[in-house]
């Protein structure tokens, strides 16, 4: 074994406590990468097959892609945290030995030998950490799957534990790369240390070269111990920066995942309320409404036949989407607000709406209402615009063409607009028409050559109904190229949405927790090392008469000040990201109502308390281990 390897091994043995923490960090990082790879992949498989069963292969693949992207995002956050944590551990370890490296240099060690001393530490830890990490990864994945299924127990869908060898290999190689980078940077820095500064024993003095200013306010409030604590934090800014970053990442992830779960849950509740007694649905789509066998008249014939099924309440509507921007605009430029939804209902229902709006039966009516959910979970109706009666809207039909496999796709916008005059408006949704919420902002016309046909059904036997419905549809029409007919088990669809939300929140919850744990190892090793490195300083302070109480106060203040910094940065950032996630969810297309932002006060308080208690306890425990040392020995610097 070379000297560098031997020195590394000795160092690992000597500071075995710190070694264990570093190893724990590495094992956790490797484990998390292995776990997220396999968990994400099996999650993508399971979820996409659930979606594919209901919505078809293409939708399923979309979800698989979304979950994969999500996993990669988490993987990157884990990798970044791992680099911060692991490289900090090695930097502290190398920093402690500045003097040793100086001695080695003065007796003739080359730069490379010094660098290798640190590198070997990384190599030895990898040799143990990578296999252990792989095993830990399997355990973590198993626990994550277990927890996910626990959180998803409201649904029939379950995640399975499966191993993807390719992904596992990639995760392990990635971990190795992370460790290599994390070790190389401090190793290179250690090799640059000049022998002379070490010989002078100046390493400690050098750190103080940047003289921290007297923090007057803190000194006034907390006395001399406060001044010392603040100075210490400023002096070892670098060590504490990693601590602050890890704490911040943990806080942000916790707040973000809570926001995701809370707001998705609110949307889901609202959606369930809106669905009311609807238990099944059917949908027909034609890209070419002018030549299709199905038009609104034949659709009403089908509806009549459907109503013969026992205990089935069927409602029909048809719709088309139009561009408000006109044929000069490009398709991709269209946002939600640039598309008009034009709808036709069955005559009886249209009459009801016309009466509600106070206009003649054949009128065009706009549903001029916006839905919002208040903090108590009740819907509030708003009139978002001014009275639009009398307005003439020019809408441009979208044109479709057949792509690969005869799948229809929007291909363009017609040159000639359709002019729709608004005769009246509905500004309040009737209680028994909550489903109208889906059509807020839409135009209701008495007749339309529609592209989409929907049958919403409340039936006591939805599955039997859907079977019957399919045969009825086939008797009335033959599907032409590009046309699509699907039946939908609403209860199944809701269950799937619940499963999806539960899965996503379990995912973020579990892995955010793990990243927080990874950050915690860094906090522990940083604080412990900082206390250990200053044992001499403590001894000097106590030799000039600082009592145990004062020492304890100084350390407590240090932990409070460093926690405060993490909270000052982490909490606002976390709330901001929670708010951004809320905005994203609020804009989701399947949520035709706005929801209020839920400020997570309990979590904010819990985070603050958690950070304070964590740092405080670690500081106390490290300080307790110091008191065992003898003052004189420490001052003499016996190593």
């Amino acid at each position: 074994m070379s000297l560098s390897a031997k020195l590394a091994l000795q160092q690992l043995k000597t500071s075995h406590k710190k070694t264990m923490w570093t190893l724990f960090g590495i094992v956790l990082a490797v484990g998390m990468l292995v776990a997220i790879g396999n968990y994400g992949a099996s999650g993508a498989d399971t979820m996409s097959s659930i979606v594919a069963d209901i919505y078809g292969e293409a939708q399923g693949e979309g979800w698989a892609g979304f979950i994969s992207t999500f996993s990669v995002f988490f993987g990157v956050v884990i990798a970044a945290t791992a680099i911060i944590v692991v490289s900090n551990a090695f930097r502290v370890s190398a920093g402690e030995r500045t003097k040793q490296f100086g001695i080695l240099k003065s007796v003739g060690a080359t730069k490379k030998q010094i660098r290798m001393t640190v590198m070997y530490e990384g190599i030895f830890l990898s040799l143990v950490g990578l296999p252990l990490g792989f095993v830990a990864g399997l355990v973590l994945q198993f626990l994550a799957v277990l927890m996910t299924n626990q959180l998803m127990n409201t649904t029939a869908h379950q995640l399975s534990f499966s191993l993807y060898p390719g992904l596992s290999v990639i995760a392990i190689l990635g971990s190795f790369l992370i460790i290599a980078v994390s070790v190389y940077l401090p190793a290179r820095k250690a090799a640059k240390i000049s022998a002379i500064s070490a010989i002078r024993g100046a390493d400690e003095l050098k750190a103080k070269k940047v003289r921290p200013k007297n923090p007057r306010i803190i000194g006034k409030i907390f006395g001399f111990e406060g001044t010392l604590a603040a100075k210490q934090l400023k002096r070892s800014k670098r060590h504490f920066r990693a601590t602050v970053i890890s704490l911040c990442i943990s806080i942000i992830l916790i707040l973000a995942s809570a926001s995701l779960r809370t707001h998705m849950g609110v949307i889901l509740d609202g959606r369930t309320e809106q669905m009311g007694d609807m238990s099944a649905a059917m949908q027909f789509f034609t890209p070419f409404p002018d030549t299709s066998e199905i038009n609104f008249t034949s659709a009403m014939d089908i509806t009549q036949a459907l109503r013969e099924f026992p205990d089935a309440n069927v409602r029909l509507h048809a719709s088309s989407s139009y561009s408000l921007l006109g044929y000069t605009a490009n398709l991709a430029a269209h946002g939600f607000q640039d598309i008009a939804n034009v709808i036709v209902f069955e005559p009886e229902f249209h009459t009801e709406l016309a009466q509600l709006a106070g206009v003649p039966i054949d009128s065009n009516i706009i549903i001029n209402v916006e839905l919002e959910m208040d903090a108590a979970g009740n819907f509030i109706q708003h009139i978002p615009f001014s009275d639009r009666t009398g307005e003439i809207v020019a809408v441009y039909p979208f044109e479709y063409s057949l792509g690969r496999n005869n799948t229809p796709a929007m291909a363009g916008i017609a040159n000639e607009p359709l002019h729709i005059e608004i005769h009246g408006q509905i500004t309040h949704l009737p209680d028994n028409m909550l489903l109208l919420a889906d059509f807020t902002g839409s135009l209701i016309v008495p007749d339309l050559n529609a592209t989409h046909y929907f049958w919403q059904v409340a039936a006591t036997d939805p599955l039997g109904f859907l079977e019957y419905a399919e045969s009825v549809f086939n008797q009335h029409a033959t599907l032409q190229v590009g046309e699509v007919f699907v039946t939908l088990d609403v209860i199944d669809e809701l269950a799937m949405t619940v499963a999806m939300i539960d899965f996503m929140s379990a995912f973020t919850f579990i892995f955010s927790g793990m990243i927080a744990l990874l950050g915690l190892t860094n906090v522990i090793s940083t604080i412990a090392a900082s206390v250990q490195m200053r044992s001499k300083e403590f001894a000097v302070l106590s030799s000039v008469g600082m009592d145990k109480k004062g020492m304890g106060r100084m350390l407590s203040l240090e932990s409070v000040l460093s926690s405060a910094r993490a909270l000052i940065i982490g909490l606002p950032l976390g709330v901001l990201i929670a708010y951004l996630i809320y905005l994203g969810i609020d804009l989701l297309p399947f949520a035709p109502f706005t929801i209020p932002f839920n400020t997570p006060w309990e979590l904010i308080i819990a985070c603050a308390l958690g950070v304070f208690i964590t740092t405080f306890v670690i500081m106390k425990v490290s300080a307790a281990s110091l008191k065992k040392g003898n003052i004189i020995e420490t001052i003499r610097g016996v190593e």
């Binding site: 070379s2 000297l3 031997k6 020195l7 000795q10 160092q11 043995k13 000597t14 003097k99 040793q100 100086g102 001695i103 080695l104 240099k105 003065s106 007796v107 003739g108 060690a109 080359t110 730069k111 490379k112 030998q113 000049s194 022998a195 002379i196 010989i199 024993g201 610097g637 016996v638 190593e639």
Partner: protein, 226 residues
């Protein structure tokens, strides 16, 4: 024969008005096998001189030849290798590697070279410093005087051309200090090794062959004692 030759050695710190000449155009040479004491007040530049002679610091200008080699023309790696093969350095604060045993600390220059020294040589040195029974101890298990003896053995192991000692007794009680000094002088006489020692202690200086007094970065006096 001159084992060490110093030419116009200058070391300045800082720039402009804050510039300090720690060493100012110092030149001298040392004959092989002699014992030179370097004395001077603290801040006079004697430690800077020793660091430059040991190649752990680089001069602003000037040259140092050891055993005929111009050490500052070497790159850092070459200089490091030169140092472990040709120089022995003893510091005031022992400077041992805390994770290595006494024996391993002694062998350090060899271990850095990837070689294993002759076991007999190591045992002879351990016997010389009277620590044969402490070979497997860690530095923290040894007294200050014992640690310093280990560091002297480390400086002697590769039979260096020059031993540089920076107040090697400064941190020890008088009994241990006396032992250390005897050890260094014995090495100087027995192995004909050149010894250059910084000291504050006049009594120690008087045991040398030659005393160089440094003041304000320049040689104030250079006198043969015997």
């Amino acid at each position: 024969m001159n084992i060490l030759q110093v030419e116009n050695l200058t070391k300045t710190y800082g720039k402009g008005e804050a510039q300090v000449n720690a060493l100012d155009e110092v030149s001298f040479s040392v004959e092989k096998g002699s014992f030179v004491a370097v004395v001077g007040a603290s801040g006079s530049g004697k430690s800077t001189l020793l660091h430059l002679l040991g190649g752990v610091d680089r001069p602003t200008s000037g040259k140092v030849h050891i055993d005929g080699q111009d050490i500052f023309t070497m790159n850092e790696s070459k200089l490091a290798i030169f140092r472990r093969r040709n120089l022995g350095i003893v510091y005031q604060f022992y400077n041992l590697i805390p994770t290595l045993t006494a024996e391993e600390n002694i062998m350090l220059p060899y271990l850095l070279d990837g070689r294993k020294p002759n076991g007999a040589t190591v045992n002879e040195l351990l016997e010389l410093i009277g620590l044969t029974d402490r070979a497997k101890h860690l530095p923290s298990e040894l007294s200050g005087g014992q640690q310093q003896r280990i560091s002297i053995a480390r400086a002697l192991i590769n039979s260096p051309s020059v031993i540089l000692a920076d107040e090697p007794t400064g941190n020890l009680d008088s009994k241990s200090g006396k032992d250390i000094l005897e050890l260094l002088i014995m090495a100087n006489k027995r192995y004909n090794q050149t010894l250059i020692m910084i000291t504050h202690d006049e009594k120690i200086a008087l045991q040398s062959d030659r005393i160089i007094t440094i003041s304000d970065g320049q040689i104030l006096l250079d006198e043969e004692v015997r």
